[in-house]
């Protein structure tokens, strides 16, 4: 399998903290790679560094081409879709305006988006700030899916969602993964087991494990890499998961 995203010796300093300390891993073309780790180990920062939203040093190659010195809008223009951790929908804009803003180079896939999230068509004229958390997550994911992507960066898409919605979001991501590559940060190990082919585990700003998603079936390994509660079906934030009860919103990752 060819490598789509290649990260080598990635360093990020934020507010005097050395958040990423030489992170390096590959994201293979096709399927979902899950980026795992406890809160604050640098998962969100890694995604933001790839996008150029965090000041970074190191090498980042997308399809063999260097993007580590490019500006965010140019990186995204190469075909990166981004679903941020806290949704970051534009509250004062309508659902339709949120989607329209995301259209790149024409060819928007409104049909796909409305097929996956029919509710968004009905709520097109509603301000995004008045939507529920789950509906806002739909807008955030739809915004990324509106354009064909070479790589999707998805940050905790099930965070704070009700159990039924967690399953819906997982189903959508499963469908997306049939055609697009994704790097997924996710606390819910049930969702990760269902979706991911490959896993990368971070700890204290470094990669401590890379392997196949089946590694998560090894409870001892999960416990060693991810800490307390993994073997008993808890998510990385300590809440019960296994695609079950939603995790309470953890603190924002570093």
């Amino acid at each position: 399998m060819s490598v789509l995203l290649e990260i080598r010796d990635l360093h990020v300093h934020l507010g005097g903290s050395h958040v990423l300390q030489g992170v390096g891993f590959d994201v293979p073309e096709g399927g979902i790679t899950a980026l795992l780790g406890r809160n604050g180990v640098g998962k969100t920062t890694t995604l933001r560094a790839v996008l150029g939203l965090a000041p970074r040093q190191g090498s980042i190659l997308l399809g063999g081409e260097s993007i580590d010195r490019e500006q965010t809008h140019r990186i995204v223009g190469r075909g990166l879709g981004y679903v941020p951790e806290d949704r970051d929908v534009f509250a004062g804009l309508t659902v339709e305006e949120n989607l329209r803003l995301a259209v790149r180079n024409g060819g928007a896939r409104y049909e796909l988006v409305h097929e996956l999230f029919p509710e968004l068509r009905e709520r097109a004229a509603q301000r995004a700030g008045t939507l529920s958390g789950g509906q806002q997550q739909m807008v955030a994911i739809a915004r990324a899916l509106l354009n064909p992507n070479r790589l999707l960066l998805i940050d905790e898409p099930t965070k704070g969602l009700a159990p039924a919605l967690v399953s819906d979001v997982a189903h959508v991501l499963e469908r997306v993964a049939e055609t697009e590559t994704a790097l997924l940060v996710e606390q819910n190990l049930g969702v990760v087991r269902r979706l991911a082919h490959t896993i990368v585990v971070l700890d204290q700003g470094r990669v401590v494990h890379t392997g196949a998603a089946v590694d998560l079936d090894d409870e001892a390994l999960v416990h060693r890499l991810l800490g307390v509660g993994q073997a008993d079906g808890r998510g990385l934030d300590g809440a019960r998961t296994a695609e079950g009860p939603a995790s309470p919103a953890p603190e924002r990752d570093a």
């Binding site: 939203l53 809008h73 981004y82 305006e97 803003l101």
Partner: protein
């Protein structure tokens, strides 16, 4: 009653000028987080470009046509100057707020010094169409026509900006950028173009305020930009940083209170505006964080 009507219309005219300056300030802060202390310089450049152009158009016999042509040049000069300031001075200092303040304060002072150096400190008389100096009778009083001009211009600018923000792609980008600039770039949009555009729009509005102030006060002087900028900043803070509608409402409130208090308490108008600002900050400090365009 007639005095009250006159004060009201004059206050609205003054508020209109405050709004023209404040609208650009508010959008620039809302989108870019830049406290632009050089905004008064845009006004000065527009006003002086208009006066200078008009003085060189002696070949055109019609005062109205001369003033119209000069005003267009003045507006263009304001837009161009503002865009160049953004590209050359602000862009390299993106996210370096202290340096931005220092640069814009320095530019403001330098512009005044430059204008004084070239044309002196004395006020320069504006030659304007006769209708501007006439009056219109309303409710038993004579309202100077230029007040209608100020109010009409501000209403048109407010409506134009609203339409622009609602109906165009750049308007959408600006509205979204006021909420979350980083997310706009994460959607693949080069938000810096919107920065330059917002500066240019602010420059046009400020230049228009400069031209109208020339009509209102019948002259323009090097310190005009600074004196109007102080009240525009107060308007922006009261109205909510980044809020266009808030700036419009606050402009009216500030202009009216200044006129009423000036008349009924003999010259305490400016103090009343400062007290109003203090009151708003005490009662609703959240206006400082208002970021809705």
């Amino acid at each position: 009653m007639s005095t009250f009507v006159l004060l009201t219309i004059t206050g609205l005219g003054l508020g209109a000028m405050y709004f023209l300056v404040a609208s650009g300030l508010s959008l620039i802060y809302g989108l870019m987080g830049v406290l632009n202390f050089a905004h008064g310089a845009f006004l000065t450049v527009g006003a002086y470009a208009t006066w200078f152009t008009e003085s060189k158009l002696g070949g055109i016999s019609s005062v109205g046509l001369r003033f119209a042509v000069a005003s267009i040049i003045g507006l263009a000069a304001g837009a161009l100057f503002a865009a160049v300031v953004e590209l050359v001075l602000i862009r390299p200092l993106y996210l370096r707020h202290i340096e931005q303040v220092l640069v814009t304060v320095g530019l403001s002072l330098a512009t005044i010094a430059l204008v004084q150096g070239i044309w002196g400190s004395d006020a320069r008389i504006y030659e304007t169409p006769a209708w501007f100096h006439g009056t219109t009778d309303l409710a038993g009083t004579h309202i100077p026509n230029d007040r209608w001009l100020d109010i009409g211009a501000a209403v048109l600018v407010l409506a134009g900006l609203k339409v622009f923000l609602r109906s165009t792609r750049y308007g959408l980008i600006i509205r979204a950028g006021v909420e979350n600039r980083a997310m706009v770039t994460a959607l693949g949009i080069d938000v810096r173009r919107a920065f330059t555009l917002v500066f240019a729009i602010g420059g046009v509005a400020a230049a228009l305020a400069g031209i109208l102030s020339g009509v209102y006060f019948t002259s323009v002087d090097p310190a005009r930009g600074t004196s109007l900028l102080i009240f525009a900043f107060i308007v922006v803070v009261i109205g909510g940083l980044g809020s266009l509608t808030g700036s419009a409402v606050a402009s009216v409130v500030v202009g009216l209170s200044q006129q009423y208090v000036n008349y009924y308490s003999t010259g305490l108008g400016d103090l009343s505006v400062v007290l109003l600002l203090a009151l708003v900050l005490l009662v609703r400090p959240a206006t400082l964080a208002g970021r809705t365009a």
